[in-house]
Each structure stands twice: as C-alpha cells, then as structure tokens.
C-alpha cells in the first residue's frame, strides 16, 4: 500500500468513527467531536512545530491555550464602564509600574558591571518596585472587583467581534512564549520543559485569582458568538420551513446548524494553518530548522544562530496553541479557568502529536481527531463495558456501583495505553515524517 493511500485510509477511518458516533449516539455528539477535533488538530500542529521540527519540549501547552481563552474574553466581552471608572486606570498604572520594575531590574542586570553594587541595586529595585506595584494595584483591584461582583466585577473586554480574538489570542500566547523562550532558551543549558511547566501553572493561577481581569473562578459566560444563536434560528420562519424540508424538527436543526457553522469556520482556520505550516517547512527556513534539529553542531559551525531559530519556532508554535485556545473558548461560549488541567490541555496534546506522527503536520492533524474521538468515546464505551461485566452481579452490590462509578476514569488509562503502544510498536507515529 503506498503512502498516500495508507494516509487517506487512516483519515477515512477517523471519519467513519465519527460517523458511527453520529448514527449510534446523535449527530450533535458527532459534530461536537468534529469541532473539538478541529481545535485539537490545530493545537497538535502547534506542538508538532516545536517538538517535531525543532525538538523543543513544551509541557506548558495548557498555559498558551488558556491565554487564547483570555484573549476571547478581553476582545469580545463588552467593557464595564462602572468598573473602569472605579479603578480601571489605577489597575493599568499599577501594571505599568510592575512592568517598569522588571524592566528596570533587567536593565541594571545588563548595564551595570557585575558586583555587590549590582546585586544590591537589583534587589532594591525589585523589593521597592513590588511594594509600589502592590500599593497602586491593590486598591484599584478592590474597587473594580466590588462593582456588581455577582454579575461583573471585572473590567470587561473591548466589545469587538469575537473572531478577532483568534489572531489576538495567538499574538498574546506568542508574546508570552517569547518572554519564556528568551529566558529559558538563553540559559547556558536549556531548561524549557520545567520553564513551560511552571509558567503554565502561573498563567492558570492568574486566570483563577485575578478577578478584575477574568472574573476568576466565577467564570465569564455568554461570550458573543461568530455564528447565529439557536433561539434566533428557531424563531426564523424561513429556517423552520427549510428544516422541515429536511425532515428535522427546528430545535435539532438549529443546534446542528450552529455546530456546522462552527465546523466550517474551524475547518477554514485549520486548512490555513496547515497550509502555512507545510509551506514554512518546505521553505529554506524550514529546511534550516530541520538541519539544526538533525545536527546542531554542524548548523552552528555554519554560522546559524540556533537559539534564535529555536526561539522563533517556539513562539510560532505557542501562538498556534493560543489561537486554538481562543477558538475553543469561543466554541464553549465561556471562560472557566477551573477547567484548565495539564492532563487534558498539555499532555493530551502530546499524545496526539506522538500518536499521529512527530514531525508530520498531517500526522498531527490525524492524531488530533483520533485522540479526541477516543477521549470522548472511551467513557461511554467504558460504561457499556462495565455494564456487561457487572451484569451478573447483584443489583446494588458495592463492587458493582464502584465499578460503574469508576468507568469514567478509563479514559486516562486508555490514553496512556495508546501512547505506550504506539511508541513501542510504531515509534514514528501513524503517519511518520518523510
């Protein structure tokens, strides 16, 4: 079987799997899997850029995805004028002072000669700056958060169309990635893994606790949509009549319509990103990336600035993850910082990349769809399995209820198993790099 035929077949298998979910469960479920699969595929492309093409080990995907989610809120939610009046400007000044402190410390570090004077200067700037920063920021934060806390209590966003947040989410994630990369990749030896692991936790902590920014664990709900609302469709006589033409009732038709609209939007983004990733890698820049990956010493000897290249691809990959994060939050219609967990948003994406095929963009896309399908479907399959196993047991027995209750945790086990099996028996993934 030739390469293209095999790969097409693999994609067909995933399509059939999703279709089976459509027939056996519901088309809403199937479309949701498809939409999330599209988003997952984009995340996987982002991680694949970093790991597959540059060998960078990013275990902070969750953080970049969450930044994208934050971008969705900051771009699309209407601003809260009361909160802005109460303390918005003060918060901004506080943040500016905080940034100035760090920049000041960095300047002293780079401009002043090494010695006790420099150390004392840096400590003085950092400690003094921290108290000034907190002194200015805290009252502003308190003021903002006390404005109608049950419904708002945050500054809101810019009130722009939510689609704008997708590129902006990418920019935001890319910016933070630049800061991390600049520090972690510039160290004498590279500590990217631990740096990304830590930053991701910090980003989530900020989203959970800085209520003025993201409403914290109170969540931001009702993020505007780029597609019509179901209720509007149901009230639209034209839509109802054409739905009837398909033999569907208006409620189901409207939910399917909305999901299809998302799928269309996401598909366009995925295709654009995929095309860009493919073009970039076939370009001289991409060839150089791979040359560095395969023989860093030789590339360095030829005068390539390896750290700079690594930084570039790290920023790009993280930006793609941020973009996907903004899309995800748009699809959910809400930002819930409490749901960001590393297993789901970092390590699952890694499973997608490894299973799909590190170094191959199509592999990453396939992995995104396949692993997301498994992630969703293992649970019902697990419940079904447990029902079969426990069918002989007495109703209400402790073991039976325990097994039934635990079926939900099968998915983590399955993900690990799939990863280990692929790593062992097909270490290059399902669609290997060419």
């Amino acid at each position: 079987m030739s390469e293209p035929v095999k790969n097409t077949l693999l994609f067909l298998v995933v399509a059939v799997l999703i279709a089976i979910a459509g027939f056996m469960q519901s088309w809403n479920t199937a479309l949701l899997i498809l939409n999330m699969g599209l988003v997952s595929a984009i995340m996987a492309i982002g991680v694949n850029l970093q790991w597959g093409f540059a060998g960078l080990f990013n275990v902070g995907v969750m953080g970049f995805v969450a930044l994208g989610g934050l971008a969705a809120v900051l771009v699309s939610m209407p601003p809260d004028p009361d909160a802005w009046r109460a303390g918005g400007v003060r918060v901004l000044i506080g943040l500016a002072l905080g940034a100035a402190t760090i920049i000041g410390a960095v300047l002293v570090y780079t401009r002043v000669k090494k010695g006790p004077l420099r150390a004392v200067g840096i400590v003085a700037i950092l400690v003094g700056g921290f108290f000034i920063f907190r002194g200015v920021l805290d009252p502003g934060v308190d003021a903002v958060e006390s404005v109608n806390p049950a419904l708002s209590g945050y500054l809101g966003g810019l009130g722009l169309p939510v689609i704008l947040s997708w590129p902006i989410g990418g920019l935001l994630a890319g910016g933070v990635a630049w800061l991390i990369g600049k520090t972690a990749l510039g160290l004498r030896s590279d500590y990217l893994a631990i740096a990304t692991l830590g930053i991701a936790e910090i980003i989530i902590a900020v989203l959970k606790n800085e209520d003025w920014l993201s409403r914290g664990v109170k969540n931001v709900v009702g993020i505007p949509r780029p597609v019509p609302y179901e209720i509007d469709l149901q009230n639209d006589p034209d839509f109802v009549s054409s739905a009837a033409g398909w033999g569907l009732d208006p409620v189901e038709a409207s939910t399917l319509y909305v999901k299809l609209a998302y799928a269309g939007l996401f598909l366009v983004v995925l295709l654009v990103i995929l095309w860009m990733a493919q073009m970039a890698l076939k370009s001289p820049w991409g060839r150089m990336m791979r040359a560095i990956r395969d023989n860093e010493v030789a590339a360095e000897a030829m005068g390539k600035d390896v750290t700079r290249r690594h930084l570039q691809i790290f920023v790009l990959g993280s930006a793609v993850c941020g973009l996907a994060g903004a899309m995800l939050t748009t699809l959910d219609g809400q930002l819930t910082p409490g749901t960001y967990q590393p297993l789901r948003f970092t390590f699952l994406v890694w499973v997608m990349v490894i299973v799909g095929g590190s170094g191959n963009n199509f592999g990453a896309v396939l992995g995104g769809f396949l692993i997301w399908f498994l992630w969703v479907e293992v649970e019902p399959i697990g419940v079904y399995l447990m029902e079969t196993i426990t069918s002989g047991m007495a109703e209400g027995s402790a073991l039976k209820s325990h097994l039934m209750g635990s079926a939900a945790h099968m998915r983590l086990f399955t993900m690990g198993l799939v990863l280990l099996l692929v790593l062992r028996f097909s270490p290059r993934g399902l669609i290997p790099e060419k």
Binding site: W51, G52, A54, G55, L56, F57, S189, D190, Y191, L192, A193, I194, A195, R290, I292, R293, D294, N295, E296, S358, G359, P427, R428, P432, E433, K434
Partner: protein, 277 residues
C-alpha cells in the same frame, strides 16, 4: 538521523537538561553473550585471529586482522590515524561484530562472549576516554574494579597502591579532581583490581605531557614485570615500540607489518612510512 536509524534514538536534537541527562550514558549494548569453548587451535596466550568485522550492520573495518600477545609480553598496536587500531582492540574485547575469525584466551575460544563476560574470563580493559568514575573517590574506583570479586581484595589494592603510590596519597579524593596522568593511573589500577590474566590499554598516553608519558610507560613496564601480559594501542609509535616485545602495524584494518618491537624500529620501510624517517 530522522528517517533512517533507530527511531528510539532520535531525540530531535533536544538538549533540555531539565528532563534528559546524557551524562555518563553508555554506548555498549548490553547483550547476552554465548559461552566460552575449549579450543585446540593453540597460538598465543591471547589472540584475535584473522578477525573481519565492523560495528553492527555497518561496513567491515577490520580485514583478516590478527593481534596476539604472549605471557610476560608487551604487545603494541600502532599505525596511522584511522587504521583501525582501537577497533582491533575493541574486537578482541567483544565490542565489535566479527563476521570471520576468532578470539582465544588461555586455550578457550571466547569469540561468543559479551564484553562483561570477557572481564569475568580475565580480561582487563582500560578504554581511551571516560575510563574512571569521576564522581567517586580513588579508593571507590578501585573497589568498583574489584566488583566481580567476592574474595578479600585488600591485598590487590595494596599492590596497586605500591605500583601507584600517588593514588594511595589521594585515595579519599574524587578521581575527577586528579591530573591527567593520575587519572590514567586510576584507570589502570581499576582494571588491575580484577587480577586480570591480560591487560588491554587503549592509548593510555593520549593527551598527557611527554614527561608524564614517560612515567606512564615506566609504570606499564612495571605492571608487565609482575607477569601480566599487556596489549596496548599507541599513538606514539616510536616510544611504544621501544618498550614492546611485539608490534603490529595496522593499515586500513589490515596487518601491514608484525614483528618484535626492535625489528619494526629497525625496518626501513616501517621507519619511512610510520616513524617519520
């Protein structure tokens, strides 16, 4: 190597020290070897006989190459860069896949043994680089040398200290803190701790100053005087042949000249081609 090669060894150029530790990682593949068989073939005490082979499935590096050392002798392998000197020694030690030929030690055919098993059979091997445990003290290095021994090895340790007095002085110091020449003494001492039947040295004087080199050669002669045959690869052909009972000149993995050290030094061909006139 992204596409060819072992996919499990493809780290995509990752250099992340927070997750991966390349320090001290080994290259020798742990393989289960076969058994030693008594051999009637005879020949020298240790002989790599008509060896042909290379690394793994790679091309042959050695071609019908023979290396041998007898009891009480020092044998040296010399030759130009890339002649396969170290490869020949590694082949004798079982770190190469032989396609033809055999290795025999003390009347036993050991061709199928893994390197570890050859150590048990009585071969002491001192690699060219990374030949000491840098983070461990000198004494611990010697103890590790005696790892396969279950008897009391204090006497052997005393002998090593007699041979290398400086090591006794520095026995509580981490071996990594010693000078180049002292490190080589630790390396040789570690190999002697097994009470080997034969000692193999891969370029023991690489990277040390001429004075230290002379001292090391003196020590090696002293070791040989205790009755242990020594097989040695050397870059400094002239000095090495001067102390050698037997010499092997290799060129492109083949025996070019063999003879006593004196004969080779006197051979005009050898002098012209390898000893700089």
């Amino acid at each position: 190597m992204p596409v060819a090669g072992n996919p499990y060894q493809d780290d995509r150029g990752n250099k992340d020290r927070s997750i991966a530790n390349p320090q001290g990682a080994g290259e020798i593949v742990h393989r289960k070897g076969g058994k030693a068989r008594p051999s009637e073939a005879g020949g020298a005490f240790l002989i790599g006989d008509a060896m042909t082979g290379g690394y793994g499935k790679g091309p042959d590096i050695l071609h019908d190459c023979t290396i041998a050392v007898n009891q009480g002798e020092i044998a040296v392998i010399v030759g130009p860069n890339g002649a396969g000197k170290s490869t020949a020694m590694k082949a004798v030690f079982g770190m190469l896949d032989l396609r033809q030929g055999s290795v025999r030690l003390d009347g036993q055919d050991i061709s199928d043994l893994s390197p570890q098993d050859r150590v048990v059979q009585g071969m002491g091997f001192v690699p060219q680089t990374n030949n000491i445990f840098t983070s461990m003290t000198v004494e611990e290095n010697l103890e590790m040398g005696a790892f396969i021994r279950r008897d009391d090895f204090r006497e052997t340790m005393a002998q090593v200290y007699d041979l290398f007095p400086i090591l006794k002085e520095k026995r509580r110091q981490p071996a990594g803190e010693l000078s180049g020449g002292q490190r080589q003494q630790v390396a040789v001492g570690r190999a002697l701790m097994t009470k080997p039947k034969v000692l193999m040295l891969d370029e023991p004087t690489a990277g040390v100053s001429p004075i230290v080199m002379d001292e090391l050669f003196d020590r090696i002669i002293e070791v040989a005087r205790t009755g242990i045959p020594i097989l040695m690869v050397e870059q400094n052909a002239r000095q090495a042949l001067e102390i050698a009972d037997k010499g092997f000149v290799l060129v492109q993995g083949r025996n070019a000249y063999s003879g006593t050290g004196r004969d080779l030094l006197d051979d005009p061909e050898v002098r012209k081609s390898f000893l700089g006139g």
